[in-house]
Amino acid sequence: MRHALVEINGQPSAVTVDGERLRRADGEILAADPVRWLPPVSGTVFGIALNDRALLESHLDSFNQPPYDKPPAKPVLFIKTPNTRNGHLGSVARPTGERLQPGPSLGVVIGKTASRVSEADALAHVAGYTVVNEFSLPEDSYYRPAVKAKCRDGFCPIGPWVTDATEVGDPSGLGVRLTVNGELKQEGNTANFVRPVARLIAELSEFMTLHEGDLLIAGVPAGRVDVQPGDEVAVEIDKVGTLVSLVTEEDATRKGDRS
């Protein structure tokens, strides 16, 4: 089953998705076309950087030098703040004067409270999987927290839906593809994670309780590309879905706050 959150008459509404049809809890059927897709999760979003083997290996020479001195011993984590959340078919603004890069990743949606769970029990705490596009400015350093690169408004499209964990089965071995205007630009596979999903949950829950609705951005493959205003960017993950985002130019004329 696929679970989504859509806006109907200005109100968020939980639906299940069956092909082109959306079914509300009260049984009413809607067409997918005219709705606005909202992010299907609302908890804390934790990202895992450098979780793709090829990406990590590409940096190992520099990671043995200052300021790093040695490769990371534990998962390299960041937080995507709530202002970054964005839905399927949402637009992502390229900040004026900056380069913008999408980050295709499997999203792991926590289904029940996980504190200090073992790797063997970890997947029992997963409700399902979604698609994430972890937009970022290019990172030329991993030394300091990447708040300015990663916490901009709309920089975390999530969706279109959460596919039940039982339907996906083993979360390793899923192909992850990024296309820009229909052309394949970046490719990875969840089999290439440095730490597979179960191990991530075990290591994170050792010191942070994961709650229902929290989301892990499990790992972006090597080879991030730049995208331009006007581009249509899609992330496709086997068995999970395809998440589309539209790149726009930041409104440089906007001054003062929006309220």
């Binding site: 534990k74 984590l77 703040t81 300091r144 927290p145 408004d153 010191f207 709650h211 001054k255």
Partner: protein, 259 residues
């Protein structure tokens, strides 16, 4: 006015605190402070500053103060309220407190100029931004394993209205372990002040009501051990108490509460 959030008879309530330190419910009923469980007074994203006092930067062997704020992000699993419990992991060498002034955002802020910034502050609270130096790694430093651990950032007890804190840049900060003064400094020594930080952050992202900016700590670090009662205090804001537990005590209590 002082605004707090408490749990009382299983309910989460927004309350005020009167001049005698008693809690006033929405219906006017007054409760003793020790009858309730204090919750963090806000639940948005907490932005925290590293190395924001020149003397503390020197204490940590940084040769020069940072040119740009060193900002990292915390999520709500890390927060705990006044009179709550934090925990020291088994086998670590050095866990220290950090007494910090926290500005709480009162309205949506984007592209706010420094001169207007304080209009976006609802009020001030304080936090104790505990850190475990054993877990520092040189990736996204300070990393989540140091700074985003469950219940290891006490926040509170309350938010004092901005109008009652006319000089946020001239307040004395103090930390006590078991009643003994261990740290003393003044917010006058802050490198990047609250208006600067609001301009900086809102220059690239939207700040939401309930978001918090913890402004860093002056010098005077000391180790904390299980059993220690740690009070952080800021003149005109309040005094935030926390008791340290061992790892096993903390998780035994957590397990009992959830069963």
């Amino acid at each position: 006015m002082k605004h707090a959030r408490i749990q009382h008879r299983g309910e989460v309530l927004d309350v005020t605190v009167n001049d005698d330190g008693n809690i006033v419910l929405a219906d006017g009923k007054v409760l003793d402070a020790d009858q309730v469980t204090w919750l963090p007074p806000a639940t948005g994203t907490l932005f925290a500053l590293g190395l924001n006092y020149a003397d503390h930067a020197a204490e940590l062997s940084f040769k020069s103060a940072p040119k740009e704020p060193l900002v990292f992000v915390k999520s709500p699993n890390a927060y705990t309220g006044h009179d709550g419990y934090s925990w020291r992991p088994d086998g670590v060498d050095y866990m220290h407190y950090e007494c910090e002034l926290v500005a709480v955002i009162g309205k949506t802020a984007r592209h706010v100029r420094r001169a207007d910034a304080l209009e976006y502050v609802a009020g001030y609270t304080l936090c104790n931004d505990y850190a475990i130096r054993d877990y520092l790694e040189n990736y996204y430093r300070p990393n989540l394993r140091v700074k985003n651990r469950d219940s290891t950032t006490p926040v509170g007890p309350w938010i004092v209205d901005r109008s009652q804190v006319p000089e946020p840049n001239n307040l004395t900060l103090r930390t006590y372990i078991n009643g003994e003064l261990k740290q003393e400094g003044t917010t006058a020594d802050m490198i990047f002040d609250v208006p600067f930080l609001i301009e900086y952050l809102s220059g690239f992202m939207t700040l939401q009501p309930g978001d918090m900016i913890a402004t860093g700590t002056p010098k005077g670090m000391a180790d904390v051990q299980p059993g220690d009662v740690v009070d952080v205090e800021i003149e005109g804001i309040g005094r935030l108490r926390n008791t340290m537990l061992s790892e096993s005590e903390f998780f035994k209590n957590a397990k009992e509460q959830s069963s």
